[in-house]
Amino acid sequence: MIGSLFYNIKQAFVQIFRNRGMSAASIFSILAMLLILGLVFIIIVNVNLFSEIVKQDYDQVEVFIKDGATQAEIDECIETLKAKPGVTNVTFRSQEDALAIMKERWGESGYLLDSLGENPLPASIMIEVDSLDNASSVASAAGKFEIIEDVQYYKETVDKLTKITHFLQIACMIIMAFLVVVSVVVVSNTIKLTVMARSDEIHIMRYVGANNWFIRGPFMVEGIVIGLIASAIASGAICLIYKKLVETIGDQVFAIVSSPLISVQYMTVNLTIIFVALGCSIGAWGSIVSMRKYLKA
């Protein structure tokens, strides 16, 4: 049994080499599909992480105060907002606080802020709400005050992000379904060459009563080997791409949206698992399709 598995794997490589043109086409087709999947996966996972962080960190509304507002006006505003339903905490953030926070967020690039002459950042009031869903009513109440220049909250951003991720996921699934079918067709045509070369053997197996899975065995091994080759290349490529990506723009992303990119290791491990599973399934499926004509009674 084990011996025949090794034999079949060896035969699969022999056949793949013999039909190398078609094999390369199959591998390329699966590879392209996996890479597209990988890139979309990278985007979706990172956007998801970002929106999670935003949801946790920004369950608050920030209202910016006009220059020259008096402390009394500010205090009045704070007291009113504290009384609103859903509001859990209200804090005042002075111009100096705002600058300090920004410096911290910019990390190594923070020194750039030192060269600013006058502090351009406005003072603000941070209103924490128990859920982002209460944010809009609080925001509109805050907006009514004279001293308030601008209201900023993240519900819209989060909603937009969620919408974009959903859209990406659906678009990805449609593209994937299409690419999977294309790959299966290409793989099945490749394996059909082997099937034809061995059609006598298939006929003989059928006449002596071999069951269909037994007959499919060697051809499935070939399909799976093709799928594995493609997924190995895809895993390596996506790992390099993502590593490069994190190295080059990871810090900037963090500076802008204060959310880290998912780690290279996590991404590589998960994508490799997905790639191998998908690559093997497509290979196996392609070989089943290629033999359909031969195995119907």
Partner: protein
Amino acid sequence: MITFDHVTKLYRPGVGLDDVCVKIDKGEFVFLVGPSGAGKSTFVKLLLKDLTPDSGNIQVGDYHVNKLSNRMVPKYRRKIGTVFQDFKLLPKKTAYENVAFAMEVLHKPSRQIRKQVPQILSLVGISDKADKYPHELAGGEQQRVAIARAIVNNPQVLIADEPTGNLDPATAWGIMDLLDQINLRGTTVIMVTHAKEIVNKMDRRIIAIDKGRVIHDSKEYYAGPMGGDEE
């Protein structure tokens, strides 16, 4: 054992099998004769479930052959050994391996394979050629390997579609003796042939088909169309 009940399988009007009724008992030896294009191979293919009839019923033992699901066909085929005019041996396997292959396919234990294959090879009379590849064997010897492969799993029925078609008369008689022997061991044998001489000398049941219809079914001497002496 085998019943064809008003079986029709027409590729186009008048071509194929047309309303055929045949009953073959367990242990019989039957010749199936008729001119080229009469429908003999069609009969064999229907029996093997290579084809499904347009109408009528085929029963073999407990199997309702038309109603077999795709999944059950392999199990059914194990009850039937088949031999063809062109031997259909695997060129890259030795005589021994070709026969063993039929057992491996059915996941027979290797101990049983090692014991049974030599027995069968000696039964068909080619023990000394076990390690030869098909291209190193004469036609008659190749057909013996094919017969060994067909019977190694002890089928209840052996179907031979022109097994002597590619052989000279002397070799053909050797194969006939072998099929006769196998029949004596209790296996039902159906043999398709054009060889008039063999058919008329063997004194067995003869079913003649012409244009898809059974035109003769008895042990009587048959002088009708058969499509040449040997082919």
